[in-house]
Every structure is written in C-alpha cells, then in structure tokens.
C-alpha cells in the first residue's frame, strides 16, 4: 500500500501523519454465489483528502462501497473508521459512523420538498415542525459554506439533476457525515454542473471532510483526486498519488493492458449522400415543439456526431429517424422519401429501408431485460426468411447466429441462454450493437453508445463504429460525451433547443467553441463558417 502523505498539492493542508485513516478496510472479501465480487481488498483513505476509486464496470467498486455503507455484509475482513473497528450492518450504523453516500441513482422522494427529503429518517421528534425549522436553518448555513444552494421549499421533481444531487449531498451533511462517498456522480451532469460539483467537493475537502469518488472517467480522477485506487476484477490493483500517475497508466491498470484513449482512424472518404433531412419538426405528447426545423446531411462513409446537452432534441431526432415518433418535414434515405406520419412510419419499415438503430436507453428501448440474449438478438429479425421453418421460427438457427455474433463482438460471458439483465452494462450494449451492425445497414443511428460502459467495451464499440464507417456506411452518432464526439466524428453538429446551431470540423474546433454553441450562444466566427462547408 502506498502511503498518502504529501500529495504534492501546495494548496492542501498536509495530512497529519499521526492521524488515523478516515476509512481503513482490511482484507474485505465478498462473493455472490460463484462470483467473487471483492477479493481480499485493503485500502486506507486519509482524512481530508479526495480519494478516487476507478475501475471498469463490474470491477467491484460499487460492491465495496455497498459493504462500507452497510448494504451488504462482507464475507471476510474488517472496517475501521477513524481508527476504530466498526461493525457496519445497515445504513443506520454507517450513518452513525459518519459515513454518507450519494448514490448514482438518487434516493429522493420526487414529490417531497427539499426540506422534507433532507429530514427524512433524521427527524428530531415525532412532530415535523421543529425538525423542518432546524433543517431550514442548517441548510442556509451549509449553502453558504459549500456553495450548495438549493431552495429548501422546492419540490424535488421540479429541480434539475444537478440540484437534485446537491440535495443528496445536503442529506449526508445534515446527518453529520464526515466521510462522503459519491458513486459515479457526474454521469448525469452537464459539464457546467460537473464543474460546480467539483467546486463543492473542493470546499468540502477544505473543511476537512473526506471524500471517496467512484468513477470510470479518468479525467475526473486526474482533475480532482489526491489519491487514486484502481480496481480490476474484484481486486485492488494499485493505490497511487494522483500527481504521480497519468491517465494512460491508470487506464492500463484498469484493464490490464495498454488502451488507446484516442480512436485510431483514417480520414473519412465520404461518398453519396445517404441521409437528407429537411425542415424536420417534431412535437412531443404535451404539444411542445422539440425539433424546430432540422436540416442534416450524412454521406456514405462518414460519422456525423451530434453534440449537445441532454434534452435539446437529440432523443427526438433519433426517435423520428428510427420510426418511433412521427414528425413533419422531409427525410430522404438514399434519395427516397420516408413516411413520417402514415402507416409506414414505424420502426420496421425504417429497418427495411436500411436504417439500424441503437437506442439511447438500452435497458428500456434496446433490450428486454428478462429475455435471453438470443431472444433479444432476434428482435427485428422475426420475419427474416432465414429464421423461418414453415409456420414456426427456427430458434436453433437464431441461437447459433447469436452465439456467432457474441463471439464476434466479444460479449462476455458468451452464453446465449443468459438473460439480458445478467450481463454488465458494457456487454449489454455489445449485444445491441451486434444486433444492429450485423443487419448491415446503410445508415446506423446510434445514441449514447457508451453510456455506463467500461473502458474496454468503449474501445471495442468505438472500433466497430469506425469499421462500419470504413465499409462505406453512414453513421449518425448522438452523445453527451464531448470526448466521444471528438474521437469518432468526421463532422460535428451541435444541437440546442431543437435546432442545429452549426456544423464544425473536429480538427478545426475545440471544446470551448462547442461548449458555447451547446449553451445556445451563436457567435459564428470566421473559422466556424469555414468549417461548416460540408454541412
């Protein structure tokens, strides 16, 4: 174990060598049936530091933190908090030990006010009035101290995701948490919200709180942590000072081999126009106009990336192209007009026209979680003569094909009888991508291809997208991850408020320019005009 003193950050108070670690885990092991989720894990988290835990999905990070928060009981091992051995059996004892947790999926009551959420479970007496008054006072103080501003009387469901996360942090602080665990906190945040979160975390560290940050984003680890521990396949592979490591080294430690952080790709060689969108307008169920006249072209052999903060119409664009929503305007694929409202405006007709669709939310739209892998792979192929045997479906052929696709796309474990929910996020996504790419489409719509997916799988999926491009297919990529947009796109279109703000050449733009466009600021400088020549 590497010691954690003198992290080399001048602005930090040097941790006192004589102080006991805020958290010390010794020899933690936990198995679920035959799967060893945590194997003999030891870690020391020093007080007043931000300690990152990084690892691929399924590496055992969340299990470890769930043990620390009392959700699971470890099979073996000991937990020390501030030097004292603790027996953490449930959330209650974890809270009593000064541990607070901010879950990836917030544990908030949507129709309660912020105040009610904060006091829930930490009320002072049988009546609410005094607790609410006390919490209101405390929240005002916390807001001032840590930039945690939230209106205490706002109803949670009306708050933005970033504000909801602040409520979660406030909940922990209201319970006197000295040690704060955050599980993938930036997964749902806009870049600006993430920056604000990091400021809050720095303020907390300054006040002597200890923070454990679980993430799979290397950039965050490099940006904010003092120390980082790497997990791989249930084991702690290393703990290093952040200032003494590099993203490349961490990535290698995570996956156990060298990882290319940038996708290797040659220049695009665009051919004929495959997709032509003109004046596309879409209203949602509530009558709100979500797409306000979209014009787009994608040519064969190129990737058009759509950047933007989630909720600016990207989802609706994918849905209308994929036949899951009707719209107005004109969409042509290979020169032929698509039906946008009538009988042929469904997903099946779109597939017949050579469009494949990897939806943004794989668990809700891409897969049926309780179905076997081979049944999931069968979606969209039900009427394929290849799988017909008289009146019946040829399930054996389907299963054989699934097995072949799983091998080709490196789905692990390669067992077509497992239900979709028993695969990790990355492998679920590979199943969907395999199904859609193997359709050999002219146009692939792909939304958030690597959301909640581990680094190894990200790399693989990116390679597949580029390989498809190099076969001369058109690809529409929607992602909220700017890194991903930059890595894959041949042209980048930025969406804001249902409109395309502009199209840029990735080589001639930068995050700052795109960030401004994503915020709706249309300052099209000279270089911007020039870069949109393809659009």
């Amino acid at each position: 174990m590497v010691d954690n003193q003198q992290t080399g950050r001048p602005e930090m108070v040097a941790p006192d060598a004589s102080r006991a670690p805020a958290i010390e885990l010794r020899g933690i092991s936990k198995a679920f049936g035959p799967v060893q989720a945590n194997k003999d894990i030891s870690i020391r988290v020093m007080p007043g530091t931000i300690h990152g835990i990084i690892g691929e999905n399924g590496a055992g990070k969340s299990t470890l933190m769930s043990i620390l928060y009392g959700f699971y009981k470890a099979d073996k091992g000991e937990i020390f908090v501030n030097g004292d051995k603790k027996n953490i059996t449930d959330s209650q004892t974890a809270i009593a030990a000064g541990i607070g947790m901010v879950f990836q999926h917030f544990k908030l009551v949507q129709n309660f006010t912020v105040l009610e959420n904060v006091i829930l479970g930490a009320e002072d007496g049988a009546l609410l009035r005094p607790s609410l008054a006390k919490a209101r006072k405390e929240l005002t103080a916390l807001a001032k101290e840590y930039e945690l501003n939230v209106n205490p009387d706002a109803v949670v469901e009306d708050l933005s995701v970033g504000h909801q996360q602040r409520v979660e942090i406030l909940k922990a602080l209201y319970r006197q948490a000295e040690i704060l665990i955050l599980d993938e906190p930036t997964g749902v945040l806009t870049p600006a919200e993430a920056d604000h979160l990091f400021r809050i975390l720095e303020n907390l560290r300054r006040e002597g709180k200890t923070i454990i940050l679980i993430t799979h984003k290397l950039r965050e680890i490099m940006e904010i942590t003092d120390t980082v521990s790497v997990m791989r396949r249930g084991q702690m592979t290393a703990t290093v000072k952040t200032s003494e490591t590099s993203p490349e080294q961490l990535a290698e430690l995570m996956v156990g081999r060298k990882v290319l952080l940038r996708v290797d790709k040659t220049a695009a060689n665009p051919g004929d126009t495959v997709l032509e969108v003109r004046g596309l307008r879409v209203r949602d169920e509530a009558g709100v106009e979500r797409l306000k006249g979209i014009d787009l072209d994608i040519r064969a052999g190129e990737v058009l990336g759509i950047a933007g903060v989630a909720g600016n119409g990207q989802s609706e664009l994918l849905q209308v192209l994929g036949g899951m929503r009707s719209g107005k305007g004109s969409i042509r694929v290979n020169g032929q007009e698509l039906d946008l409202t009538g009988l042929k405006s469904d997903a099946r007709s779109r597939r017949k026209r050579g469009i494949a669709h990897v939806p943004e939310d794989r668990q809700r739209e891409g897969l049926i979680m309780d179905f076997h892998a081979w049944e999931n792979v069968a979606f969209g192929y039900h009427d394929d003569p290849k799988y017909q045997r008289g009146l019946f479906m040829d399930n054996d052929a389907l299963r054989q094909d699934t097995q072949a696709k799983m091998a080709k796309f490196d789905v692990r474990p390669p067992d077509c009888w497992l239900s979709a929910k028993s695969f990790s996020g990355g492998n679920q996504q590979k199943i969907v991508v395999a199904r859609e790419i193997e359709r050999n489409p002219d146009l692939l719509l792909i939304g958030q291809p690597t959301r909640g997916v581990d680094i190894g799988a990200i790399e693989f999926i990116h390679e597949q997208i580029i390989a498809l491009r190099d076969q001369g297919k058109a690809i529409l990529l929607v992602s909220v991850e700017l890194d991903e947009i930059f890595a894959l796109s041949d042209r980048i279109a930025v969406m804001f408020d249902g409109q395309i703000m502009g199209v840029r050449d990735p080589a001639q733009t930068n995050e700052k320019e795109l960030g401004l466009m994503m915020a709706g600021i249309t300052d099209t400088g000279p270089q911007g005009q020039e870069a949109s020549r393809n659009g």
Binding site: M101, I119, L128
Partner: protein, 321 residues
C-alpha cells in the same frame, strides 16, 4: 321535494357514507405506504361477521367491535406477509383474501348459528345505539336549524363520529408527523427510506395494520350499526366503491371525505327512489349504483385533473445495490 325529505336523504347519506369513509381511509394508509389493497371488501366482510357473531353471543357491541377489528387485522397480516415479507403479488393476495372472507363467513355462520349463513338479529346492547347530542331534543322545534341539528348532525352511532374524526386526524398524521412523512415516503420511493436508515418493512406493516383496524371498524359498523346482524355478502361491493373513492380523492384525506359523501349520497338517492323520472326520461336505479364506478373511470381517464397513485405502489421492495 320538501325540506324534510332532503334532511332524510342527507341523514341517510351520512350513515351510508360512514363505512365507505372508514374503508377509504383504510386504503389510504395502505396505498400511501405502497401496498395496494383491493382486499378492503374481504376485510370488511370478515369484520362484519365476527363483530355480529361476538356481539350476539356476548351481548356487548364493544366486544363485537373488538372481534371485528381482530378478524380484519388477521387478514391484514396475511396480506402483509404475502406482499411485504414474501414479496408476492399484491393484487392476487388481496383477491384471495376477498374470496376467503366471502366463503368463510358464510360457512362459519352456518356452522355456529344454523340460520342459512346469517347471524341472528342483534338487539339492545349488541347494537350501536344512536347518540343523541346535547340539546338535540330542545332544538328540534326550531325551524330550519332544528331538524338539521337534531336529525342530521345528532342521532348517529359512535362509529359515525369516529369516522368523521378520522379525517382531520389522518390529515394531521400524514402531513404533520414523522410517521406520516415516512409513510408517504415509503409509498413514493422506498429506497430513499431504506438508505436513510429506516425500515421499509416496519413502516409497511404499520400501514397495513392501520388499514386492518379501519376496515374492521367499517365492517363492524355495517353489521352492528347500519344493520342488525350479519347476512351473506353484506358488504355488497362497498370495499370496491371505497377504492374508487380513494382514486376519486387522489389519495388525500379531505378529498376522501368529499368522495365518500358523494358516493353515499348516490346510494341514499338510489335507496329512496327506485327509478328517477326526470320529465319523461327514467333513470334506472342500476345507473345510480353504477355511477361511482363511472365517475372513477372518468377521473382515471384524466378528465377531472390527474389522479397519480403513489409511485412505488403495488411493487414489493427489493433492495438493489
């Protein structure tokens, strides 16, 4: 229609609304905690039978009430075990309870009293007597106010007043106490309650138990207040009407009072006038009986505001990572 008739219909409304209100509030506690309960009917029925049987044998309506509440609670515990502890399907468990109650009450009644599945008629102390409020008799002569006070407000049995008092009490518990906050939270997002270190199971059992007690009161009122003894299937769908009222009331206590009074009024009118002649158009009594359900469908279809049930309702809580 003269003034006295109106008073009589309203008086009958209050009496008919009482079991609906108690059952509706019972469902409110359970469903607000995330346990759907279409077994109100069965619990009321079991309580009606046990209260009538024990009241008849002991001669004391209060012992009967206790037995009725006990029977209803026992069924609640079964529902709790099935849907909370064993995470079964709440609808199926409740339907089973309805069938169980419908069959068992008649069977036991026949074996105990040999009167064709009914209990003997209750008399004297085995029934809830009307309570005459102070000055009811002396004010009876005063025009207008007199009949309202002495006939409409005074002269109901204790359970009617208890039911009415439950409305503000329930509101206060739900919105002003720690228990109420947690109860509402566990019906909306049990994970939030769990991570806050509060037992989801404990809260849901508490809610289901309260539901059992209130259903017990409702059933006991049917057999020992509204009528004098138990007869087969005497709840006659009141448990379902109470559920309809609960949706109509959007799971809120004061609205529940309004909804059950409205449904009570419909029943009172249907009871008094078989077919209503509206200048040539005859409204059959069946239509009045169906009206609560029709109104509920209209509410559910979203015509009169939106009725959003508790978000975690109907789903057993399974701890995720």
């Amino acid at each position: 229609m003269d003034f006295l008739t109106i008073i009589q219909i309203l008086d009958s409304t209050v009496r008919l609304a009482t079991p609906l209100l108690l059952a509706c509030l019972a469902g409110l506690y359970s469903e607000r905690a995330g346990v759907f309960d279409i077994g109100l009917e069965g619990k009321m029925l079991a309580a009606a039978f046990m209260s009538a049987a024990v009241a008849y044998v002991s001669g004391s309506v209060w012992l009967g009430l206790l037995a009725g509440v006990g029977a209803s609670l026992a069924l609640s515990v079964i529902h709790g075990l099935a849907s909370i502890t064993f995470r079964g399907n709440q609808l199926i468990s409740a339907v089973a309870i309805n069938f169980l109650a419908a069959g068992l009450t008649v069977l036991i009644a026949q074996s105990w009293f040999q009167q064709g599945g009914r209990t003997p008629s209750l008399i004297g102390g085995a029934r809830f007597e009307p309570i005459t409020l102070p000055f009811a008799d002396s004010l009876a002569g005063v025009p207008f106010i007199g009949p309202i006070y002495s006939d409409l407000i005074s002269g109901h049995s204790a359970l009617v007043y208890i039911a009415l008092a439950m409305v503000p009490l329930t509101w206060w518990i739900l919105y002003r106490t720690r228990f109420g906050l947690r109860l509402r939270a566990v019906g909306e997002n049990p994970a939030a309650v769990d991570t806050a270190g509060v037992s989801v199971t404990g809260l849901r059992y508490a809610a289901v138990a309260i539901c059992g007690v209130l259903c017990g009161l409702a059933g006991a009122y049917l057999a020992t207040g509204l009528q004098a003894g138990f007869v087969k299937d005497m709840t006659a769908g009141r448990g379902y009407i109470a559920l309809a009222a609960l949706i109509f009331a959007k799971w809120r206590p004061w609205y529940a009072l309004g909804a059950t009074l409205l449904f009570g009024l419909l029943q009172a009118v249907a009871l008094r006038y078989q077919n209503i002649d509206l200048g040539g158009v005859v409204i059959p009594v069946q239509f009045m009986d169906a009206l609560p359900y029709i109104l509920t469908v209209i509410i559910l279809a979203g015509f009169v505001g939106k009725a959003i049930p508790p978000r975690a309702g109907g789903e057993p809580y399974v701890k995720e990572r």
